[in-house]
Amino acid sequence: MAIASSQPNSPAHPWPSLVPKTGMIVTLLFVLLLLFMLDIALGSVHIPLKSVVAILFGNETGQVAWEKIVMTIRLPKALTAVIAGSALSVSGLQMQTLFRNPLAGPSVLGISAGASLGVAVVMLASGGAANAFAIRQLGLGGSWLIVLAATAGAMAVLLVVLGVAVRIRDNVVLLIVGIMVGNITVSIISIWQYFSAPEEIQDYLIWTFGSLGGVFGSQLAVLAGVVTVGLLISFSTSKPLNVLLLGENYARSLGMGTFSTRMFVILATSLLAGSVTGFCGPIGFIGIAVPHLARSILNTSDHRFLMPSSALMGAILMLACDIIAQMPGTQTTLPINAVTALIGSPVVIWVIVRQKNLRASFS
């Protein structure tokens, strides 16, 4: 970017550059590639990195089983991790800026809760045992029905929030409305659970653990397509989000269209968080934590750089969590949702306490 060529015109105070450490993006890309390979290589069956690279580039390795494992299971899972991680992180970043709240994440607008309600409707209230049996036959995470239900639920909650957003100008009020709509949704689910059979509740609970392993073929293509659209909309909101950091009044006085910005951000978030929740279940922590990591490491508040680096860091963190969840060398796997919180939270606490600028970002 041309901004980097800022010439210091007084030796005492060289003008600061608006571009943060540019080498960082390259480093992040490298780490992402490395973890992507490792994620494919590690698992209950260990496949050497060399063979992973060979298989990915379409070379013969003489190991048909490995090729099958890589191409049908681990590659889709790694891709899903990359997509989910970047989608949740970018939508979290937008939510935190829009609501000027460090605890905001993709779930604050009730999107995850809406998706959960959709899934709960399918799993808990499927009417008779026959129906429930049919759904279980389809296979849990991979079922289109579940995905559609989750997306529909997310959309329903989102329409409510959008309806409120059109009428209410205050973002803090909107935030509270989003959280309350989420609460209502969660309570409907618990009432439903209370009156449901234990095995139905169990199915639902397993879905809430989250899973990266259930997205294959056409589902992966749909997820990738929706997330790409969502990310493009998100990147286009970088400039208005930067002035929104000054507060809504300043943003408006600079000519920012508050309404259109808010609508674009909500649309992008619902596409990103809604689709990922639909396909992978409600994955927590990543959306809240990664934007803080990105701000800490890049030491900037410029969304033109925070967006791509949040996407990269989200993908990296998600891959790392997935590697840990596979428990390399053992036959067990942990639920991804537990790993993201268990491993990720201390990392974030450490980074933030060390850098001491979480408060600087928001207060």
Partner: protein, 359 residues
């Protein structure tokens, strides 16, 4: 004819409170409006520094918001360089008028340079990338406000005074003929207040900008403003504003009228407010010039009524011998004068003799 940057025509400002109450079964054709001021005719030209004065709650912020196009007027219009602010696209308004608000910008992770650069928002493309000309303007704004020393620092690390200068730099970078500032000197200490006012004065004079600031600093406003806009000078429920040069506002008694409360009085000599000293025990004062002035202030503050030149009651006489100042206190007729070398000793003495008199 002079070209005005900003003009108001029969402007009335206030709030429409009835809009929300118009439920389907309770249709009110004319929503109730709370008019704060009406028939406002203001004109603002290049190089003018205007101070907007008025007591709390007199509608300064409402006027500011209406002028900026953030709030709709109840009637009349606001013209920015001849075009109605209500019909301008926000992007066009942003090129004519910039704002400095009272709200504290809390984004700590943003450098001063990046914040000032955000002032270029209306001019940059969809990604907000700065062209070389934009960078020149940003740097000029930083140098004008004397903030280049901390251009690399984060907003969160600045003092209130530094932060206010940065916000003004951002407004300058927005490169608008009009700058509106809402209480830019609030929360600042005196040197910072003076510095901000001086900076704004320079901006108006050298860059021919039209600057409007609302403030409670009456004395600063009287010294620096080319013109004062005074809210609600008659103290009525709704009234027009007065726009005049500071000196005639004082002479016409408008300022006194607008601000005088029980217990305070506006001193037309100094252009500042003083506690009103009524009653109190009389003390005579004999002396001249600055020492007499401050002796009077001290006595009045302590609750006495100062009578100039009276030597037949208890009184204070100021004497200067060999360049040394002495206060002679005579507690009543025929009493011996007591000499004190400092004002605080004198005050102590006066109050002691007062208490003896009571006993």
């Amino acid at each position: 004819m002079r070209e005005y940057f900003l003009q108001t025509r029969e402007l009335s400002i206030g709030y429409r409170s009835g809009a929300r109450k118009s439920l389907p079964w309770k249709v009110s054709p004319h929503p109730v409006a709370k008019i704060i001021a009406e028939d406002i005719e203001l004109e603002l030209g290049a190089g003018e520094l205007i101070c907007l004065l008025g007591p709390n709650g007199s509608g300064k912020s409402t006027l500011m918001r209406t002028l900026a196009g953030v709030q709709k007027p109840l009637g009349g219009s606001v013209l920015l360089k001849g075009s109605d602010v209500g019909r301008l696209h926000p992007k066009e308004t942003a090129k004519l008028l910039s704002l400095v608000l009272t709200e504290r910008v809390t984004t700590g992770n943003m450098s001063v340079y990046a914040l000032v650069a955000l002032g270029r928002y209306p001019y940059t493309g969809w990604m907000g990338k700065l062209a070389p000309e934009d960078e020149v303007i940003v740097r000029h704004a930083i140098e004008t406000t004397g903030t280049s020393r901390f251009a690399h620092r984060h907003i969160g690390d600045l003092s209130d005074g530094e932060r206010q200068k940065v916000m003004i730099a951002r407004a300058i970078a927005q490169d608008t003929p009009i700058i509106l500032l809402d209480e830019p000197t609030a929360h600042l200490d005196l040197p910072n207040r003076l510095e901000i006012i001086r900076l704004l004065k320079t901006l108006a004079m050298e860059q021919r900008k039209a600057v409007v600031l609302s403030t409670h600093e009456l004395d600063l406003a009287l010294q620096a403003a080319d013109r004062i806009w005074l809210m609600n000078p008659s103290g009525g429920s709704a009234s027009a504003m007065v726009s005049a040069i500071p000196e005639s506002l004082v002479l016409d008694g408008h300022l006194e009228h607008a601000f005088t409360r029980n217990g305070f009085e506006f001193d037309s000599h100094s252009g500042s407010f003083r506690f009103r000293h009524e009653g109190g025990h009389p003390v005579g004062l004999i002396g001249e010039g600055v020492p007499a002035y401050w002796t009077q202030r001290a006595l009045e503050r302590a609750g006495y009524r100062v009578v100039h030149g009276a030597s037949d009651i208890r009184h204070v006489e100021i004497e200067t011998r060999n360049g040394k100042r002495n206060w002679m206190y005579v507690s009543g007729e025929g009493c011996q004068p007591v000499e004190k070398g400092s004002l605080d000793e004198l005050l102590l003495l006066v109050s002691e003799s007062q208490n003896e008199g009571k006993a």
